[in-house]
């Protein structure tokens, strides 16, 4: 039948069109699904260090901060500093945080690295871009819907929607229903 031919053409071409973005959504989907266990956008590396004596002077003065950074072997460049309490000095650098215990000299070095490509994928998947991307993502969602519907009718006969396809489609519908029944 002619309608099936068109159905399959639409299914095939939408499949090609959606492949790239689907991979982006798959990767990001798994990444953000486990947000409780890891940070999907940034990698945080911690290291401990120690400075023998804390330089004398106002801990937030550029001279003292540069001296501390120099003793830690870091460049003297930093963004800003903060004292959360009387015994701690936090120094914010381009790539992270240097937290100095002003009493003991113990230092916690926290290095933040962006997860290349994954962060960009999450940015799109979670629609942080907003604006025009919102409509692009809407179009993609509609295309996915069409892919699903046309996919039902690609084959006819025993392996089509009137045979094996009906059972598999039914199972696919039942999966969310079962989980809703379990958790709601």
């Amino acid at each position: 039948m002619k309608w099936r031919k068109w159905n399959n053409i639409i299914h095939r071409d939408l499949g090609y069109l959606c492949a790239g973005l689907t991979i982006v959504y798959v990767v990001s989907g798994i990444a953000v699904n486990h947000v409780r266990d890891w940070n999907p956008n940034f990698k945080i590396e911690n290291a401990n260090a120690r400075i023998e004596t804390v330089p004398v002077g106002d801990p937030r003065s550029p001279t003292v901060i540069r001296e501390i950074l120099s003793r830690l072997g870091a460049s003297g460049e930093y963004r800003d500093s903060f004292r959360p309490d009387s015994s701690t000095l936090q120094i914010f650098t381009e790539d992270g945080l240097v937290s100095v215990d002003l009493i003991t000299g113990n230092v916690l070095l926290e290095r933040v690295k962006s997860r290349t490509l994954l962060r960009e994928a999450n940015f799109l998947h979670l629609n942080h871009a907003k604006k025009l991307w919102t409509y692009m993502a809407d179009l993609y969602a509609i295309a996915l819907g069409l892919l699903a519907i046309t996919g039902l009718f690609v084959l006819k006969g025993k392996k089509g929607i009137t045979g094996r396809g009906a059972w598999l489609t039914g199972m696919g519908v039942l999966i969310p229903v079962v989980f809703l029944w379990l958790y709601l």
Partner: protein, 157 residues
């Protein structure tokens, strides 16, 4: 080379929320022009509850998991103000730490029962990746925070 070029292309394509004055905009446009000092707010928080405020300071902490809150340093040592936003409405990146930010929002007061305070402390420990110590909560708690509406974080490197 190709990978970094692709990353640059993606970043250029999606990084459309930069403001004309430099920096990154989050949420709604800032409408207030006059900033209120954080130390002034923290001196008498009760009198600011329900008020729309524009505050300014260095970002000293960001929610690691969802970017759904940040903390701004006060203009006075040892003080900071928590800015909370609804999940997904604004997402602050960890790279914002150490940058100057201006945030507009409504100042609010949260009254927590001991159980709620315990749950919040547990959640915060989880977010910071530290061990939860129940002894830090000694009873019901009152929290003051700014419910963020819009933000401008300057010069994100």
């Amino acid at each position: 080379m190709r990978l970094s070029a692709l990353c640059g292309l993606v970043a250029a394509a999606v990084g459309c929320s930069s403001s004309e004055s430099g920096g990154a905009k989050y949420g709604e446009e800032l409408t207030l022009s006059e900033t209120t000092r954080i130390s002034q707010v923290l001196n008498d928080p009760e009198s600011y509850v329900g008020q729309r405020l524009l505050v300014e300071g260095t970002v000293v902490n960001v929610c690691e998991m969802r970017g759904c809150w940040l903390e701004l340093a006060s203009d006075r040592d040892f003080e900071k103000l928590r800015i909370k936003v609804d999940d997904g409405v604004m997402v602050f990146p960890m790279s914002a730490r150490g940058q100057k930010a201006r945030v507009e929002g409504v100042f609010e007061k949260l009254t927590l029962t001991e159980e709620e305070a315990l749950e919040q402390a547990r959640h915060q420990a989880e977010e910071h990746g530290t061990e939860f110590d129940p002894s830090v909560v000694s009873g019901p708690a009152t929290i003051y925070q700014l419910k963020g509406i819009g933000a401008l974080i300057e010069d994100q490197g």
